[in-house]
Symmetry: D2
Subunit: 138 residues, 4 copies
């Protein structure tokens, strides 16, 4: 499990005073970028130098409690399923103070060659990262 | 089924040249706003004058094909399940030219009183809107 | 002057209940995209087929009155200054009902070849569009 | 001068491969939130507990160099002018590695009571924060 923390920003909160539900998907991507930060060149290196991307093909989210402005977000990211070219991310999104689970986002990504967007082999260092944080029970 | 169309905007497209996956959730909300446009005061009237909101509690999305800049989005919205306080939206998101299905987004919303965010009875005009566009098979 | 209208969206409004100030810059870009809609292929054709872009090098905005959820935005776009490779857009942003001026955004763009981002000659059809909507007094 | 650093995020970059110009205004707000972080309750406390906000009434930005995905943003924020109810922020936005100045954003904010959005006296702790980072020459 890799944890990622940052404050909720003002422009992420909707007129109802809570983080807009779509934003949790942006948080999921941000947590994925962080998940790959230890790889050579990070996520930016993957897409820019190696021309490899991870588009989402399937997404599920459950919302349990609102996040508000002033809250700090804590995302705990792991991999619940690993295939040849695909992987399933699980992001538990919590209010940092108190640790309440606000949302769980699961998304399945496929390794592709950018430009053509065709599935390709998952690089070894990417696979190793998933294996190191595999939590099949979730 | 209520249809909603608009062009993909430049700032919705990511560095990989396709609409960023989280944006499809913004599209789902936009289609929901449009779904309620015939109600007295529209969605704005619901949340501002009547203090009623529809937070998302569950979300599922499947991505089949990319949308790109230059494409026009067409969303076909219906309701697949209607409860006492909850409803499930189904949004089929297509490339307007050709009609290819790019993504399907389903999200379950709950009728709440804003501020306290507690479930409340679904207003009759809102329920009638769902009933008129109920497609239980989807 | 070319007019562009659309409703304010829920996710553009901040916790203070007004359109977040940065969003007006997104509106400016949207109005620019609309400004070029009559050109062969539109703005998408310019950047994708012709590889020509218009990055902003200078921006000014004055905010006079808030836009709120439920309002419809009306943007009136013209060109106040036209150079060899640059042009200045003026966007008057009004509440459609009543016509109150909410914000004026001016931004200077430069014609560039995408990729290298180097200034290049402004295509004739682009220049003609600016000339047709030149309002030097503004 | 108060510095604020964070990586450029994937969803902030446009199809041309550079941070979308409107995003720099979101960065400016983020830097403003950070500027107030040492005040009791931070910016969230100001708007939520004290019901005081700082809407932007005037904005200027100059763009010198692009920021790209993989870059880290560094914002150096100070106050160039302080009035009774207004203040002018200056944000120098740099690429953290190398320090190149990518954009300068200036925006004038007015102290208001939220809800009514009427100008009000600037609280002493807010004023002290501006005074401590006043750089009139800029």
């Amino acid at each position: 499990v890799i944890a990622y923390e940052r404050p909720v920003r003002f422009d992420e909160v909707d007129p109802a005073g809570i983080v807009f539900f779509a934003r949790f998907m942006n948080y999921a991507h941000e947590a994925m970028e962080n998940f790959f930060s230890d790889i050579e060149g990070g996520y930016a290196g993957l897409i820019q130098a190696r021309k490899i991307g991870f588009p989402t093909v399937r997404l599920e989210a459950d919302f349990n409690a609102p996040l508000r402005y002033g809250d700090k977000l804590r995302v705990e990211t792991s991999c619940s399923k690993l295939g040849n070219t695909s992987a399933t991310f699980v992001h538990e999104m919590r209010r940092e103070v108190g640790g309440e689970l606000c949302a769980v986002v699961r998304h399945v990504v496929v390794t592709v060659t950018l430009g053509v967007l065709k599935p390709c082999a998952m690089p070894d260092d990417v696979r190793a990262r998933f294996v190191a944080h595999l939590t099949p029970g979730q």
